[in-house]
Amino acid sequence: MSHDGQYMNPDFLDFEQPIAELEAKIEELRYLTDDSDININEEVGKLQAKCKTLTESIFSKLTPWQTAQLARHPRRPYTLDYIEHIFTDFQELHGDRSYGDDPAIVGGLARFNGQPVMVIGQQKGRDTKEKIRRNFGMPRPEGYRKAKRLMEMAERFQIPILTFIDTPGAYPGIGAEERGQSEAIARNLFVMSELKTPIICTVIGEGGSGGALAIGVGDRTMMLEYSTYSVISPEGCASILWKSAEKASDAAEALGITSERLKELGLIDEIIPEPLGGAHRDFDSTCKNIRDALSSALDRLQSSSIDKLLDQRYHRLMSYGNFKEGQ
């Protein structure tokens, strides 16, 4: 793949290529230092500083469309990556008990700071084979029904629910329609609004429409800084309203899909900061940020009674919307 006639690093997005080039140069210099007498540490240091400034400048003015691309970055950590690093004793639980097990949604019991929790999230695949097995993170009805089963179990045993949202959307397929994709999503919204246990929802990548919301109703909604949450993908919106998928960046702008915009609008509660360059550039610090946010949110939610929690959840749901009261 070429970019201005040069090699393009697939681990970097289009707008990140200048960073990739600088980093490649630094690596080259480092290699030289190993087997030559010339001391170029100073040069490397300079380049590193330059790289940091460059990254800062690129990331300080990201467009919503660039953020959408970051949310889908091929190296971005997925649900199971976080589960592995933030939780202990994860025991995955499978199946909806009536049709099958959907690998696009994972869920199970785990410990968070030692406390038992139910973790549920959409899961994308890293390599081609895994991508197909996980259906690119697009759940089918059995996935949502598995999630519902696990959430109802959590309620039964008074275990908090932590969800991780990362999906382009619910799968638009023939089988999914036959098995009631709409009903599966609707039922989860219905059930989650009344579950007698704290629910914290965190968008870690793509928050794709109803397919995301189906595990996204709870007491607190958080978003990783460079994740997105939208009623429709920018491409989908562009092809419907602008009659051209090329207008995706305009659509991304108009839809206001970024964490910053959604926080302003009061549709999410908290933005979890990402390290410079995005979650994948410093996975450990991303995990730490998520862990901290979850800890304090969980503490707060657990300090209030379940009745009060449900009341607040209901009122919050009812408060969504912009309208005026005429005559």
């Binding site: 619910a170 638009p172 023939i174 329609e177 709409s182 429709i232 108009a254 206001g256 009812m318 309208f323």
Partner: protein, 286 residues
Amino acid sequence: MSWFEKLMPSKIRTDATGKRAVPEGVWIKCDSCNAVLYRSELERNLEVCPKCSHHMRIGGRRRLETFLDEEPRIEIAAEVEPVDALKFKDSKKYKDRLVASQKSTGEQDALIVMRGQVKGLPLVAAAFDFRFMGGSMGSVVGERFIRAVNTCLQDGIPLVCFSASGGARMQEALFSLMQMSKTSAALAKLSRRGIPFISVMTDPTMGGVSASLAMLGDINVAEPKALIGFAGPRVIEQTVRETLPEGFQRSEFLLDHGAVDMIVDRREMRDKLANVLTMMQRKAAP
């Protein structure tokens, strides 16, 4: 051009390629069987073709007027009106789209709610108007639906909702997505109180509306041959790269797959719903 048309002198040849010119108002052509129908007869028949029983789309207000008893009827939540809080603009401004829809339909938004009776049974009925921006669900639809539910909770009377919608209203971005959880949560409350909700899905009921309030009826009803589903047929075709089977996502398909309880002809809607609602409320037959 048929051999017969070729025989005709060009002067008296009519243009068959253009839209068949049916005089405005008096005659209506059935979309399904092409029969030319007398408008007043079609109206009497609740916009169902008397020849082939094709259910034509029907406006929200007309739906409620034909469903409810003539008296009493009180509109609910009409005071809730749309605003363009996000200043959304695609190829057109959302504000302009709203005004255009308001002018063409005479409605403020895509959902109309009334408290009334069906065969003497008090209830709240809501109906989507597909002509208003594709019956899309934004903040006003969500809020009016909530007020409908609240009236039901307050008075202990059932809710019937006729859906006709392409889904969430993109121009309200994430606010419209949140109407899905808002309406579903209200229905959960209604359900917990043991108040019946009957969802009637009409052509079309798709996307965010089908994936929230429309699929959550204690009883899910569909009108014949209505398109009902989550993803639109074109999106599915593009995704799976297969031609969709005949009748896919139609009411009969949903009945076969267990998604709806029954398919009800519009002309029998009042009788059937009054009948099941009285049983659900342990009341005498209507």
